[in-house]
């Protein structure tokens, strides 16, 4: 077990950080806001943490925290600006935001290390730390997914007018989703950067948006558990299929396409279906037994 763990520790940690990134995109989507600002937050959080460590000599956790706070504030401010936009117009505006962050990093001179980025920001982070942070994040998300809060958020997404009429402040909810997405994205960026010890402008790009989106849709878009399943699949699949060697990317694309076609609610949807079916069968069996008795 410990042997397996030490061989795969990077993959395990990557799964967790990918999950954080995926959650930062999933949260606004669950609120009915098509925002990809989480990836921009990833950049801000990563750069802030790296700058704090390299230039200011801060230790690991204050650096990560600073990154999360700043990206939360910036993305919240972005939310104030773009809240009028809908659908993919919002998507485009937030992608523009993300790409601008990357350009700022290129032109940041000494502070951001320019095109070459920053290196040597190796934090002291182990799997336990990431799990602890993730536990807090997931606890918050579970609270937003269940009971009254879950229902209110579903209403904000599916029927904003109804939400308004029953006294839910839709605008406030949406803005909250921006802030939350910013903080989670910032955490993802900070932790990822300090694990790798480097960050470059080239990383904060459209590709990262696609990574996060794929993980969510393939896993399941409505719950953190779906994002988790997606992150696991996304991180581990390439190593699982590496035996096909040069055709790895072809097989990967094929699997993603097939998942999009045949799993309308992601892997999580399939699992839920199976559980549901199993329960109904049990229920029927019990009824049958009851009937026989009767």
């Amino acid at each position: 077990m410990s042997d397996w763990y030490s061989m795969n520790v990077v993959l395990i940690q990557t799964t967790l950080t990918t999950l954080l990134l995926a959650l930062s995109i999933q949260v606004p989507i669950r609120f009915g806001v098509f925002s990809f600002a989480g990836v921009g937050a990833f950049g801000i959080g990563g750069y802030t943490a790296a700058i704090a460590m390299v230039h200011l000599g801060w230790t690991t956790w204050p650096s990560v925290a600073l990154g999360a706070v700043i990206s939360g504030i910036v993305v919240f401010a972005l939310g104030l600006l773009v809240q009028r936009l809908t659908g993919l117009y919002m998507g485009m505006a937030t992608i523009a935001f993300t790409l601008i962050i990357s350009v700022l990093a290129v032109n940041g001179g000494e502070l951001t290390g320019g095109a070459g980025g920053l290196y040597g920001a190796l934090g002291e982070i182990d799997t336990g730390h990431i799990l602890a942070i993730l536990a807090v994040v997931v606890a918050v998300l579970v609270w937003t997914e269940t009971k009254g809060m879950g229902r209110r958020i579903d209403t904000v997404r599916e029927d904003p007018e109804l939400a308004n009429s029953v006294g839910i402040d839709v605008v406030k909810y949406r803005l909250a989703s921006f802030a939350l997405s910013g903080v989670i994205g910032g955490l993802a960026g900070g932790i990822t950067t300090l694990l790798r010890s480097t960050i470059t402008p080239a990383e904060v790009n459209f590709h990262l948006v696609i990574v996060a989106l794929t993980a969510i849709i393939v896993g399941g878009a409505r719950s953190w558990l779906g994002a988790f399943i997606g992150a696991v699949i996304f991180v581990w699949l390439p190593t699982m299929i590496s035996f096909v060697q040069e055709w790895e990317k072809v097989v990967y694309g094929f699997i993603v396409a097939v998942a999009a076609i045949y799993l309308p609610n992601g892997v999580l949807g399939v699992v839920k279906d199976l559980i549901h079916r199993f329960r109904t069968r049990q229920e029927r069996a019990r009824l049958a037994v009851l009937q026989e008795k009767g």
Partner: protein
Amino acid sequence: MQDLLNVASLGSIYLLFALGMALVWGTIGILNFAHGATFMFSAFVGHLVTSETELPFLAVVLVAVLVGAAIAALTQLLAFQPILKRSKNQHAAEMRILIGGIGVAAIPLAIAQHQTRSSPFGFRSSYEAEVLEIFGLRLSTTSAVVIVAGLAIGIGLTVWVRRSRRGLALRAIGVDAETAAGMGVNRTLLAFGTMATAGALAGLAGALLTFQLGAIAPETGDQLLIKAFAIIVLGGLGSMAGTVIGAYVLAGAETLVLNLNYGTWVDAVSFGLIFLILLARPQGLLGRKEVRRT
């Protein structure tokens, strides 16, 4: 003046690429993320054919157009059609179509990368570009073809979608797919035809661009994809005329920044511009007001 010509040339490149994407997205509501890969792979097949035998200009273009149409038709048949069939409505299918497209796109990209080792590739053709000098302005024949083709097809499509019966049917689908189907519009067939047309446009863009730029790399398609996405949103989804204007606005902004010698700020300025335009006009430049309740 020369700068205007350059803008026209660059804008036409973007336009040729974006038109196909705008057509399917604005009418049948499919945001095809495999468009960039279709574009690239059509040019790549052209490259493979011309490395066997030297071909004239038009023959290369024809090959690329056919390949593009075939790829897009296959994508529709094997990926998007099944997704639509398995979804309750267009809205539910949106995200899965996005991811399906991403999956499909990975396949030709991986093949081309593997075959070329990611080297740029061009055509071996009997066609040689010449430089025309008119009133001291320099313009290569390829650029002239690109400008004429871009404008002609752009305007042609705009008029066609607005005036013709087919165009009406297409717009009807874009506004309300279910009602359109009720009015006797054969959606499946029309969608298939539209996708094939868009693919042919991607192929045309692939061939003309490779002639214009001398060579493209397997990754070129992805870079254009994000720009096309920006152009369509900027112009307003569903408006072909908006796409035409969007392409030249983006090209104008980029050329201006480059001429002022702020080369590394190009993306920030052009995406900043898009961001600002969206703030001022949340539906894009010429987009139709969506009927939305909040």
